[in-house]
Symmetry: C2
Subunit: 666 residues, 2 copies
């Protein structure tokens, strides 16, 4: 180790810590941390504006490790630069309850800005963070630059191949997000072997086509070249920057460098000794951190605290000059809603005219948006159909970042990843929308929203076969149940305009993600004076129609099917059957209720029939063994919606028939 | 109409038929058919090698309308060129049971090669078709070119923006698929308005970066330029071809041309009259087809029949010279499996050593692949982990298309769309693989596989939290249930090596798609001489362990959890409780059984406990109201798998405890 410069010493420390941690865990990805150690070293010690002692400093630069499998790279540099992460934590890599899980998990480790691992997602998140930064800067910077930070991403071949990153890159180029920098690890190795097996496109040219500023560094170990490239990327403020860096997986491992076998498994003792010999490292000291390395890297803390202090002074001056703006800024950064916001939730009066819940949702959105300026979002090119335009909100476009209407383009997956990034950034409440059937396109991002608990609102319209003519490709059948299967996601399918308003209220109050599923077709408005809609929706299910005396059957429905049940209940009454109708907009909210309420709404020993225009799976939890479900076990069909709806079994007559059969059996 | 050339007459007929059909249906997308009529006219009358009287001719060129919303474009030209589609069918556009659904549906309309509408999917399908063509050509062409056709795609801005098309285009460029031609409708309009709102990248440059041959046609109505471009694209055999064509949505409609409002709704009577006036068309004759247009277009039939006859003559000569090859070709094109193929399904003997079902699957794949040469597939860069390499099968690469191992790259979504295209092409049985959690990335394609009933085999390994250290991002929890929610998809989660072998047998026999879910970790081998595994897996669920006398409890499990149940049953026996253990690898197969069998395996009145390392939703259908489920209502965690498994509740003790509680309640 003698004669090594401090830079090299630090870089080799990152490498050896990563190797040793993976080896001790007997599991993990050593090759990429060894390759990219110079990049994170330079970023975290020279470029990143961050204070390891306050990872929640709002104006910090964001760093995303999109190739999350290289998690030890991140943990090593976080530890070295003084984040609240110890050498002991690193030794506990990939163990139960540790701060160092296999892939970076937001919330588990200080300094981890987002959960990564599923490839391409971090790239998408980064675009959302840069968009939030641009929006807040446009909204709040007056005289002082209160919001002024850069988002850095480290990404791999896998990230580049994933469609979600390509969608996101196209949009980032269009939006000219000048404070976004992607550093691409061009290591020529994939799990199946050389990238020549499958990935021979000209990546740099592709990014030029997207409108990015593009650079190349021929050797990741050339610190001067790397430094210059990052500098130039930071200077470029008109376009996002892409730096392609040639790196060498498992750099220094005598038999495994530049091989696929170094990707996803421990190197083994022999290779580790070989690599350490190559670095001039002590062979018998696992997790060895030279004191001068720690001293050098920890200087970041002092610099970071100084930077944050300077920012706080700016903030103070700014607050004095713009007290109202400052209060607003503090509020949105805390994530508090403005006082009295709930008054903006509209009430819909029955007018004898049907109104689609997507239309009602558009009204609610516009009403609450006027009171909640941090609400910002849009659609994957379906806003006129999903009714998600904030009127007068302006378009979020290059150099008009104060706009609140985002045009995501036909890029559902990037949209999903972007809203996660926006929510993680903070200061905004993002919503996004498409047809329910296309929630499939963004499912990996919805999963991560649920896992991280990001506050994101999904508006999924065209929620059933009742969209009609567009046919089975556009008619969701299994999406409702598939969304309900995601732990931590609240799914609400309101029955009418007033339930829709309540769904929005809940979505705005929830800490985590909420999906609101809306009809294309008109449905009657339930009278809010007659029905306990507000409390009912909050509790997930409630008694909408109660007969006199003990009910002989309970009809349970969601969304548009509730109205079918109300009509069927009337028909049953004519036949002398007392039917309770339960509106059940949200399973998740109902499941949160105590057994008392649940049994009150759905008492045992009364036969139950659930009706929903989707797959039947899962309903048995609510109708019980002797109950029944009218649903779908097939895809839809193309025809006017009333025809499809009736042909596929959603008629009052069928409900009555099934209900009578259940009563007879019971 | 006087003075119009026949080309223009035909093109305007396509336009007016499309306008009129949408108007009559009061629903649909008139603008794009009006814009792109020249393209389909030229393709179907001058370029496409097809015989409208035999849409299943194996060597026909394939045409895909990836922008499926422009379905009337396709229906119009299919009708005009003599496919089995009448003017009456066109008048029934978007009606129940018609041959002309809202979006093209494969199987509903002769000449529709694939179901499109969800954007980008058709692009992905086309790469699969071109790959199947290249593979079969490499396998069967000897002296004569028996397999020699081109795949054409018409695609939109939306297709271009979707990640799936970008992944597919990157792979097509890499594979140098010279017989693939994408024609891109550059109409500058999206649903939300001008493409300038969100899509300003240089699309042509991007395709150059992918390694495609790229051309531009400045005006879709310039038939000479269009013709030349298509000719050059056909001549280019070393690279896939991309032709960007400037078009005008709703061409000729006085107030709606080049506007977003022409995209997805009828033009209205006034605009239709205006457009017809512009074309010089009779204003009072909806669905008017000039006789000379029909005569001209129907000439395609004669030409197509001649081309097919010529091909049949070649085929005859070839058959005589290569009778064995010919028999093989006929077999694979019929979709028949080779005689005796089932003998290649291996039997695994218990050896006291655990074996992961993914490893067993790799053995089965290699064994059956030696007998079923049409089995071809690969992984989204995880083949070493999913164990899906056919040893000695060769790599499917540019200019070595006979290879059977496809390297899809980290492109799950394109992989899903590609295997659909391969299956639709015929002559191959495609399989593909990734980790179960990443099935989310390709879900829109799986849905279409289920809708079309394509014969595709999905190998999804790393099927639960028991993957361990990689943590929650890589641990599937809800994917199993989400796949089960897709109508028409058979999902099998085998418990051991022998159930895995049976799962493969079923997958090869099924007509539609099958997903096989496999463990990462080792599991014991169930003795095939002791357990009725073969019949059992085919029936979806079966009694694995039966106590003497009437069981006091039934334990139901899938996959690795079955072994946990066997151990727990032993512990229960020690406590004097008779426990039946049911292995239930497939809900879908079990649901196909008659009530007799179902009640035999899961009789009422005996308490039931299901155990599965996934979300619990849906199990109630099998355990009944008074049963219970040990599952997960949360995401997983990073730690060695046995720790995660136990910490999240998958222990013999918990099973015993829950079982005792159920018996007590019962």
């Amino acid at each position: 180790m003698d004669g090594k410069g401090i830079d090299e010493l630090c870089i080799d420390t990152i490498r050896t810590l990563s190797m040793d941690a993976v080896e001790k865990a007997r599991s993990g990805h050593p090759g990429t941390p060894m390759a990219l150690a110079p990049v994170v070293y330079l970023l975290f010690t020279r470029f990143l504006k961050h204070n390891p002692k306050d990872p929640s400093w709002p104006d910090r630069d964001r760093f995303i490790l999109s190739c999350g499998h290289a998690s030890m790279l991140l943990y090593s540099i976080l530890y070295l630069t003084g984040y609240d992460l110890s050498l002991e934590d690193i030794k506990n890599f990939r163990q139960w309850g540790s701060k160092t899980p296999g892939h970076p998990e937001h919330g588990e480790t200080p300094g981890v800005e987002t959960t990564t691992g599923p490839l391409g997602q971090g790239c998408g998140n980064s675009v959302g963070m840069a968009m939030a930064e641009a929006h807040l800067a446009a909204r709040f910077n007056r005289e002082e630059r209160i919001v002024d930070h850069t988002t850095y991403v480290l990404c791999s071949d896998g990230d580049m191949m994933e469609g979600v990153s390509q969608e996101a890159a196209s949009l980032a180029g269009h939006l000219r997000l000048g404070k976004l920098i992607w550093i691409y690890d061009d290591n020529r190795i994939t799990i199946e072997g050389d990238t020549a097996l499958t990935f021979t496109e000209d990546v740099m040219k592709r990014f030029e086509a997207y409108g990015w500023h593009v650079q190349r560094v021929e050797d990741v170990n050339d610190l001067d070249a790397l430094t210059m490239a990052i500098k130039r990327a930071r200077e470029e403020r008109e376009r996002p920057s892409f730096i392609s860096v040639r790196s060498y997986i498992a750099y220094g491992a005598p038999g495994k460098q530049d091989t696929a076998s170094a990707h996803g498994e421990p190197l083994g003792e022999e290779e580790i000794r070989g690599a350490k010999r190559f670095y001039g490292w002590p062979l018998d000291k696992p997790f060895y951190v030279p004191q001068e390395v720690l001293d050098h890297c920890r200087k970041v803390v002092e610099k970071g605290e100084r930077l944050q202090r300077e920012w706080e002074e700016r903030l103070k001056r700014w607050k004095e000059r713009h007290p109202d703006l400052a209060r607003e800024w503090e509020r949105v950064m805390r994530g508090d809603l403005p006082p009295g916001w709930e008054d903006s939730i509209p009430l819909f009066k029955p007018q004898g005219k049907d109104i689609a819940t997507r239309v009602a949702s558009g009204d609610v959105l516009n009403s609450v948006a006027s009171r909640i300026p941090e609400l910002i979002g849009g659609s994957a090119d379906l806003a006129p159909s999903t009714k998600t335009i904030i009127k007068g909100g302006g378009d979020f476009e290059a150099h008009s970042y104060s706009g609140r209407n985002i045009h995501f383009g036909v890029r559902e997956h990037a949209m999903g990843a972007i809203v996660n990034g926006m929510a993680l950034h903070g200061g905004v409440i993002p919503y996004c929308s498409t047809f329910l059937v296309f929630s499939d396109y963004m499912r990996p991002s919805i999963r991560l929203a649920a896992m991280m608990g990001t506050k994101v609102i999904y508006i999924f319209s065209h929620d059933s076969i009742a969209i009609g003519e567009d046919g089975p490709t556009h008619q969701p059948v299994e999406q409702l149940m598939a969304l309900r299967a995601i732990p931590g996601l609240v799914v609400i399918r309101p029955a009418d305009a007033n339930e829709t308003a309540e769904a929005w209220r809940i979505a705005l109050k929830e800490k985590g993600p909420v999906a609101i599923l809306l009809t294309r077709q008109g449905v009657p408005i339930l009278d809010p004076e007659r029905y306990p809609i507000r409390e009912g929706v909050e509790r997930g299910a409630y008694i909408l129609r109660e007969p006199e005396g003990k009910p002989g059957i309970i009809l349970i429905g969601t969304g548009s099917e509730v109205h079918l049940l109300l009509r069927a209940a009337g028909m049953l009454e004519e036949r002398g059957v007392k039917a309770r109708v339960v509106s059940m907009p949200s399973w998740e909210l109902f499941d949160r209720e105590g057994e008392g309420y649940r049994q009150k709404v759905l008492p045992p020993h009364i036969p139950k029939l659930a009706v929903e225009a989707g797959v039947r799976r899962g309903w048995r939890d609510y109708v019980g063994e002797r109950g029944d479900v009218i649903g779908l076990d097939r895809f839809g069909a193309s025809a006017p919606w009333k025809v499809v709806y009736a042909r596929l079994g959603f008629t009052e007559e069928r409900v009555v028939e099934k209900a009578m059969a259940l009563i007879k059996e019971g």
